[in-house]
Amino acid sequence: MASNAAAPFWRAAGMTYITYSNICANLVRNCLKEPYKTEAISRERVHFAVSKWAEGKPEKPNVICVSA
């Protein structure tokens, strides 16, 4: 971490800028009026499987699925 004591609160909580901006974007999406709200939220679905590798062997894949 290059930032020091003056780091913003979200970085102090261990977030990256990406997480922070995603949370902000989600807040904005929730402020939309219907029917645009459901449309915008259903567009942003997250689904993928991630597996870490150690010593040339894959560990158990971890499926991340967020259907907002």
Binding site: M1, A2, S3, N4, A6, A7, P8, T16, Y17, I18, T19, S21, N22, A25, R43, E44, R45, V46, H47, F48, A49, V50, S51, K52, W53, E55, G56, K57, P58, P61, V63, I64, V66, A68
Partner: protein, 323 residues
């Protein structure tokens, strides 16, 4: 009437009598005469007919796959072209420096989960390997982060020790920024890097894809490079608003740049995948058509030959009786 019965009989028995029934199945393109033993009068066309049927079915399937790929391509191409606006400002600001030499390189290879799309996956794997070789040296570490099933299968063979992270099943839902940014976040958190090299196929047209490397530097390296001057040296001429320091800004920028570049790369690669699948399926349905033509020719010729033989037999038998 008797001849027809005999012909049917002969057709039924030919595969049974044939000494190499398996060989007959395997190479049914070769005219069947060569495999029929002596004494069998007519030639079985059953095998060729079966083969024709299966080729016809394969052609139908590849044609359908081409249609599907074409319609998917249209949807994703618009998205990919729109997403180019995301990384261009970053390149204008920070530049793209593939030649920067750092200790910890992380190569992010982007590929597809599904096959049957020509050579795009092996292209990105090949570029990744070449890049690794190019940047190899003492005190240097190169790790792979793999997106997609196909690059994993290829890289597992010779460099599985260097694989750090593997991400698959991206395209269950239509690709969107949230998903890619969560992936980028995962990569940032789990992998130590000085520079990220994202390797993907940039979509140019339905038939041409440019293998591309985009580089995202870590904030420390950006700072080091900006002191050295060049494009990054101009960073100091920008005014920074608010109470943040330059290193904070750089870190935020680097993270956001990574997610944007990843988003574009994933979309471009998906677009290239559909384009490559379209042209692959097009050529395979054409090949199936050619094969069908050849088989039909063989089939008709054999049928004609057996009819001619039978006619000769009838006529010569009749003339022997009457003469």
């Amino acid at each position: 009437m008797a001849m027809a019965a005999l012909r049917r009989e002969g057709r039924r028995f030919a595969p049974l009598i044939s000494p190499h029934p398996m060989a007959a199945v395997r190479s049914s393109i070769i005219p069947a005469e060569e495999q029929v033993p002596l004494g069998v009068r007519s030639i079985s066309t059953q095998i060729v007919r079966n083969r024709m049927k299966s080729v016809k079915n394969i052609q139908k399937i590849t044609k359908a796959m081409k249609m599907v790929a074409a319609s998917k391509l249209r949807a994703i191409q618009v998205k990919a072209e729109n997403s180019r606006g995301l990384w261009q400002p970053f390149t204008a600001l920070l530049g793209d420096s593939p030649s920067v030499s750092v200790k910890k390189d992380v190569i992010v290879t982007i590929s597809s989960d599904k096959g049957l799309c020509g050579g795009i996956n092996s292209t990105s794997v090949k570029i990744s390997k070449a890049f690794r070789k190019l940047n190899a040296g003492p005190e240097k570490e190169t790790k792979y982060v793999i997106l997609g099933e196909k690059a994993k299968a290829q890289l597992i063979r010779d460099s599985k020790k260097d694989i750090e992270l593997c991400i698959t099943e991206l395209q269950k839902n239509p690709l969107n920024y949230t998903q890619v940014s969560v992936i980028a976040d995962d990569i940032l958190k789990n992998v130590e890097f000085d520079a990220l090299r994202i390797i993907f196929n940039k979509f140019q047209s339905v038939v041409s894809f440019l293998p591309t490397v985009s580089t995202v530097l870590s904030p420390e390296i950006v700072e080091r490079e900006s002191e050295a001057g060049g494009k990054l040296g101009d960073l100091d001429s920008y005014e920074i608003e608010g109470g943040e320091t330059k290193s904070e800004i750089l870190q935020n920028l680097a993270e956001f740049q990574f997610s944007c570049v990843m988003f574009n790369a994933v979309l471009e690669n998906a677009c290239s995948e559909q384009g490559a699948r379209m042209s692959a399926m097009d050529s395979s349905s054409r090949n199936a058509g050619e094969m069908l033509d050849r088989l039909t020719l063989t089939y008709n010729r054999t049928r004609q030959a057996s009819i001619t033989t039978e006619l000769i037999e009838i006529i010569s038998g009749a003339s022997a009786l009457s003469g």
